[in-house]
């Protein structure tokens, strides 16, 4: 019986046992694999167990992990060499076959999270026992970024679905897990090929309610909680033995327009989209509603991403907004919009939406809010299958660290993909598609960056979002834990953290 196997090593008040660190995750880990989903906190744990050839480092550039060489040797070819002596926790060596199998499994899984970032899947061609090439039909200059998301598992144990168990090559091994309760115990991998983890044991707990995570941290039951809201940060600030890590994030949250509107609809005109944007007081939203926990976006992707460039700023000018609407023949009360979003899409989402209703109301635009609960049918709405909408409150994670794949994922919609409603809210821009093709085909980094910058400007000038912002990532931890270094990807290296003496 599960109850009979209570974690006997926990202290009477539920605190972490000696020499152990407890993490409180807001979502259940469910698996130690990222084929279908990759929420930020999971990255920390998943990569402590399984590793990729590269990882996205603190400066959002690829850092070699299982590869000691990963370089572009021809426009359509990357040469990769596996590090010498790398082994899985069961002692078996990491082989080239594990890479090719992993790519196949990530490609085959239905609803692959990673697939959208790969314009094409590379083919693995072995050169010698440790060296291989990754071949593509067209140049894929960001492959070193993309491969950071492919975690390796022994080929014989990999399947085209999320892996619930099994071995990895990381600094920790899973010694106990209960998917039902979302609790995992990780122990230091004594066969680890690299520098051993400093903390002997890590307990991973699933604590869905933020208030519970905050109380758990205050009482010392939990050592680290991540992705906390400004409200929780306020509650915890000033608490003894609690410290924070804050970094600028890579995620962008948007009030995105519906680009599936027919010609003649006001929102199909960029000038109307711009006018509505002028009615939104972004500074107040960022400073007051979001309590300074976010910065208004200055481009179509977060500026932390490599290759991101500032393209402009959101101005607040309701008088001009009204004039622009009138110039388009839209009088007070003529325009009625529906704003949809899913609860929890971002911290303070409901407050932001309510403030936007007020701001648009000031220029005579009526907005109806439609809030969906998680698990509801917002996806069908987004695709325009369940009902019509005008603005979507949405967040877009950017786990690959570079701007180009994110621009491809969000703005690379084609008419073919739109037939199955697989574009990003119907956004199709032929100029952007041409530029994306050019950027991906460009091997020269400088010229590629120039094109990437141009793509961002073209997207920005098309007014895809009424307003957008980049939230900070905030993590809180007990000061008994040392060297928690939150990275822009909202994750940290578990093996690096230690315990104060």
């Amino acid at each position: 019986m599960a109850v009979g196997s209570l974690a006997g090593c926990a202290s009477p008040t539920g605190g972490p046992p000696p020499g152990s660190v407890t993490l409180g995750l807001n979502r259940s880990l469910v698996s130690l694999d990222n084929k279908l989903n990759q929420f930020d906190a999971a990255v920390t744990v998943q990569r402590a167990v399984r590793q990729g050839l590269t990882r996205i480092g603190a400066d959002l550039t690829p850092v070699p992990v299982l590869a000691d060489r990963f370089e572009l040797t021809a426009p359509t070819q990357w040469t990769v060499r596996l590090r010498e002596g790398i082994r899985y926790s069961d002692g078996s060596p990491v082989r080239i076959k594990d890479v090719s199998t992993a790519l196949t499994m990530y490609r085959q899984v239905s609803g692959s999270y990673i697939a959208g970032f790969f314009p094409e899947w590379p083919t693995v061609v072995p050169v010698d026992e440790r060296t291989f090439t990754l071949e593509t039909k067209r140049p894929l200059p960001v492959l070193d970024y993309l491969m950071a998301n492919i975690l390796l598992t022994p080929a014989s144990a990999n399947v085209p679905e999320e892996l619930q168990s099994g071995v990895g090559s990381g600094p920790y091994v899973v010694t106990a897990s209960n998917r039902g309760t979302g609790e995992y115990t990780l122990r230091r991998n004594n066969n680890y090929w690299g520098r051993p983890a400093r903390v002997k044991q890590v307990q991973v707990r699933f604590v869905p309610e933020e208030s519970n995570r905050v109380v758990g941290l205050r009482s010392g039951e939990i050592d680290i909680i991540d992705t906390i809201t400004p409200d929780s940060a306020d509650q915890l600030s000033g608490q003894p033995d609690v410290a924070f890590e804050r970094v600028r994030g890579t995620r962008i949250n948007q009030l995105f327009y519906n680009f599936r509107k027919p010609d003649g609809h006001p929102l199909s005109k960029a000038s109307v989209r711009q006018a509505l944007s002028l009615a939104v007081n972004g500074k107040r939203l960022a400073d007051e509603v979001l309590a300074g926990s976010a910065q208004p976006a200055v481009g179509p992707v977060a500026q932390t991403l490599n290759g991101a460039v500032p393209c402009g700023t959101y101005h607040y000018d309701p008088r001009r907004a009204k004039q622009m609407l009138e110039a388009e023949g839209i009088a007070d009360g003529d325009l009625r919009l529906t704003l949809i979003w899913e609860t929890g899409e971002f911290a303070g989402d409901t407050s932001v939406m309510e403030a936007v209703v007020q701001m648009l109301g000031d220029i005579g635009v009526r907005v109806r809010l439609r809030q969906f609960e998680p698990g509801g049918n917002i996806s069908e709405w987004r695709q325009g299958r369940a009902g019509d909408w005008d603005i979507l409150g949405n967040g877009y994670a950017s786990p690959v660290g570079a701007a180009l794949p994110i621009l491809q994922g969000m703005y690379g919609g084609t008419p073919e993909r739109e037939r199955t409603r697989d574009t990003y809210q119907g956004y199709i821009n032929r100029e952007v598609l041409t530029l994306l093709d050019r950027a991906y085909a460009e091997v020269d980094a400088e010229r590629r960056q120039k094109t990437t910058a141009r793509i961002q400007q073209v997207v920005w000038d098309s007014w895809p979002s009424m307003w957008a912002f980049v939230p900070n990532s905030v993590l809180a931890y007990r000061t008994r834990v040392a060297d928690v270094s939150l990275e822009a990807t909202n994750s940290y290296q578990l093996a690096r953290i230690g315990l104060e003496a």
Binding site: Y113, F117, E183, E209, N212, G216, E221, G375, G409, D422
Partner: protein, 311 residues
Amino acid sequence: MITYVLKRLGQSAFVVLLTVSTVFVLIRMAPGDPATALAGPNATAADLAKIRTQLGLDGSILSQYLTFLERLFTGDLGTSYSFRAPAFDVVIDRLPYTITLALAAVALTAVIALPLGIWMSRRADTGREMGANIVTIAAQSMPEFWSGIMLLTVFSVLLPVLPSSGFTTWPGLVLPATTIALLQVALISRLVRREMVSNLTSPYLTVARAHGIPERRLVWGYALTNSAIPVLTALGTRFAAMLNGVVVVEVVFNWPGVGSLVVRALETRDYPLIQATVLVTAALAILVQLLIDLMYPLLDPRIRLGKATAR
């Protein structure tokens, strides 16, 4: 007796099937799509269609229901979409946590409510009883989420002596069980008081009292025994209801039981898990009710199960 039990079990099986069938239809009529909840954010329409086919959700509700029934009778409740494990096993994993919490809460309720109810009945309509009444009514009026948060604030945050969430140590049971018991004590103690007052003022006790039987024996031996059936029924009914998951308390204390599981299953539209939870908990609740019924003859020999009670 055996005939009665078999008859009740037959009725129970029908009730469970009806309940599960109703839930089967209702969750499919509700908005939301398991494929969307399951697929990653970048899933294409083709991916979603493939997932629906894999999950067997591409047919009509009737064909899905027939498949469900066919599997049900072979003991297969399907695979949980979110846990990727047999739904029955996932529920069984969580059930001990809920049973433990329910047992602790009922035991705590009985230990406090029975003496309190008797004490109140012995002091009926006095100032002290009125004071106790006010306290129990106040406890009954407090929503569980509020009393839970208050207990948590005091005992986990201000005086960090008890765990605030989860069930990693036995002290972790104290706060959630107390939160549930607070409400139940109020209800049960008032029921005990009412039954005891009714019995203590009944003619048979007046006669017994006239025969010189000691008051202590009248209270504990006669009145309490005759009050036992409604009290046992109330406690049993509440225990059975708790087996369906004490959702609010489980969420407040992050208790890894059936209640928090069902919340998650509903959020992810995990049909097999919802169905398995309903089936297991409904069956258990009915079984508990049956056990309570079987105890009646032990408490009152006049009761003979399956036959009209002798007048």
